[in-house]
């Protein structure tokens, strides 16, 4: 069972890069790492997903070291609208592993001018 650990909160200024690390020491061979963003009064929204090395899309990058025991979500040049809670999710791709899906407790990111 890949228990995940994230920092509770992080503060940043507009225009800076924010890096949030999630620890998942017991990650299984078939597990993927997914990150979600959640604003108040809304459900989480998918940001990015990866298995190893680096993944980049239009909003974020995900860095996964070779041992896969941690992962880092990188938000480049944050703006006030990036203030949200960010969740790390570790789990397998097949339905027989979904019962063990583990979200982290979430990291509150606050961006100030």
């Amino acid at each position: 069972l890949a228990k995940t650990t994230q920092p509770i909160s992080m503060d940043s200024y507009e225009g800076q890069e924010v890096n949030i690390t999630c620890s998942h020491n017991n990650i299984a061979t078939n597990d993927y790492i997914t990150w979600y963003q959640q604003f108040p009064s809304q459900g989480p929204r998918f940001i990015i997903q990866g298995y190893k090395t680096k993944v980049t899309n239009e909003v974020a990058s995900l860095f996964i070291p070779a041992d896969r025991k941690s992962s880092t979500l990188s938000l480049p040049r944050v703006s006030l609208s990036d203030t949200a809670v960010y969740y790390c999710l570790v789990g397998g791709m097949t339905t027989d592993s979904w019962g063990k899906l583990q979200f982290g407790a979430g990291t509150q990111v606050v961006v100030t001018p």
Partner: protein, 114 residues
């Protein structure tokens, strides 16, 4: 645009009542999930379903049951609500098959049991 709707945004029930939380998705997704969200604990999976009439337990199924009679609808049932089930409940759906991991969430139902 994928839309996941939940029957109520806020619900107040008494201890011992039977509670139904309904979730509907409009994108023909095979997979549906129910989570509860509590401060400091993140999201915890209660049940999921990968096909009509199929259901599987998640991390915390005790005190809950589910029903999926139609592909687009997934119901969470609290047979006898208790105060420790006061929480935010989130429904999600995703495409079927391996590699389909992007879950689309509804806005949530905040349930208070008194």
């Amino acid at each position: 645009d994928v839309k996941v709707t939940q029957s109520s945004r806020y619900l107040v029930k008494r201890t011992g009542e039977k509670v139904f939380l309904e979730c509907v998705q409009d994108m023909d997704h095979e997979n549906m999930f129910w989570y509860r969200q509590d401060p400091g604990l993140g999201l915890r999976l209660i049940y999921f379903s990968y096909d009509v009439k199929m259901k599987e337990k998640g991390d915390i199924p005790e005190g809950y049951s589910v029903s999926r009679e139609k592909k687009e609808r997934f119901s969470l049932i609290l047979e006898s609500a208790s105060t420790n089930q006061t929480s935010m409940y989130l429904c999600a759906s995703s495409l079927g098959g391996q590699g389909s991991y992007e879950q689309y969430f509804g806005p949530g139902t905040r349930l208070t049991v008194t």
